[in-house]
Amino acid sequence: MASLKESLTSSVGRKYVMGLTGLFLIVFLLVHLSGNFTLLLKDGTAFNTYAHFMKENLLIKLSEVILFGGFLLHIIQGLMLTAKNKAARAVNYQVAHKHDKVDWTSKAMSALGMILLIFLIIHLYDFFRFKYFVADPQMTADGTMIDLHGIVRHEFSEGGLEGIFHLAVYTLGMAAVSFHLWHGFQSTFQSLGLRHPKYTPFIQGLGKLYAVVVPAAFVAIPYIIKFTAEAH
């Protein structure tokens, strides 16, 4: 028999945690993306109001804790699974064969996860930099908001190496999200036991659609900003 702790740390239990947090992050990315669209507006009011609301609202603060918890669980489980799986094949084969029925993204989940982790660290550094170090004093001083909208747009559209660096990091990060979810989206459902000949082909198709469209939309925003900003 098994206690809940034993169940959750078994190889199947860990995959349930992976699947649940993976699904949660998939939904989160959609919410994140919808907010980002306001960056496209030339007028910063919508984005700044949104950013201000996200910073001050208590419920948002609570969801932020849940979001960080979700990420943390996903990352810790991902690292532990990777270690366990490596140990199970301590000595590798000398000759490898690429099977055409096995997608490379599925074999690269932990490597893609590591790239995502690096991206996430850079991303969160930027996030907290603005949230606490830049935004805070000016946002509360006289009740007016700093122009976060302008700052972000500038980050991506500024000339020289810095602008290119921001764009490159962002583009690579989103490429990693895309490949991670190319396999990960449908994998989540399989981990949770949700597989059925009637619905699985649809889930697999939807997953590939999501893996292409959502990261592409994330990436399109800074490029649109860059090229429309340069136009005048």
Partner: protein, 251 residues
């Protein structure tokens, strides 16, 4: 037709030996011969030369016992889908080919010698719950317990697993999920399997972990290489069975 091939065979003198490829040339192999017959030819050649013959597992030579574990040119059981090594024929190779042969590689399957691995870990998983405890007595009437045709068919497909370990060999995580899921499914789908369903799922997964197999990343390499083409659907079923058992077991 006859062909000549070069073989690079993994030679390892025991679990703790380092091991390495050794090259052998073998000529005039009939393309009608099976891969194992070619290996027999090679071993005769080695014995005649006074060398140590290559240790490899085999038994039925008709694709039902699961013993013939060989990792050929980077694939369990070599090229071709839905076959074991004993069902692989030399017509799958060309004259002058170099063929690499390795043992199954998994921490849970230690190498005994050369291409022979110890698959006791699978027996341990079976002993943990891959059975039904019934008082057999005399045979009962065939239709005493009605079973839905679709379920019977699915259970039968799961029961086709021959315990060869190609799923473990193919998986980058050396995971035994396909094997374990087949063994859980064949009983989970039938009324006779219900009584012990909770213990079965929990104990077999626990044993699988204890034996040092990896977890499932859903790559599907196992299904692609399984000689009995066991489906990932069974892994999803195992995941459901396991979670239901975890949530409802009383401790």
């Amino acid at each position: 037709m006859d062909i000549n091939v070069t073989l690079k065979v993994w030679r390892q003198n025991g679990p703790n030996d380092k091991g390495d490829f050794k090259e052998y040339q073998i000529n005039k192999v009939s393309t009608d011969s099976s891969f194992l017959e070619m290996m027999d030819m090679l071993n005769n050649q080695l014995i005649e030369n006074g060398e140590d013959p290559i240790a490899f597992d085999h038994d039925c030579r008709e694709g039902i016992c699961g013993m013939c574990s060989m990792y050929i040119n980077g694939r369990p059981h070599g090229p071709g889908d839905g076959i074991t090594t004993c069902q692989l024929h030399m017509r799958s190779f060309k004259d002058g080919d170099t063929i690499y042969i390795e043992p199954w590689r998994a921490t849970a399957f230690p190498i005994i010698k050369d291409l022979m691995v110890d698959r006791t870990a699978f027996d341990k998983i079976m002993q943990a719950g891959g059975f039904v405890s019934v008082n057999t007595g005399s045979a009962q009437d065939a239709n005493n317990i009605p079973v839905r045709k679709e379920d019977a068919d699915e259970a039968f497909k799961a029961a086709a697993c021959i315990g060869c370990g190609a799923c473990v060999a193919a998986c980058k995580n050396a995971s035994a999920m396909l094997f374990t899921s087949a063994k859980v499914s064949q009983l989970a789908l039938l009324p006779q399997g219900q009584t012990e369903a909770t213990e079965r799922a929990l104990n077999m997964v626990a044993e699988m972990d204890a034996q040092g197999f990896g977890a499932c990343t859903n790559t599907g390499a196992c299904m692609a290489e399984c000689p009995k083409e066991i489906s990932l659907e069974h892994i999803a079923r195992l995941n459901r069975e396991y979670m239901a058992a975890s949530l409802t077991s009383r401790d």
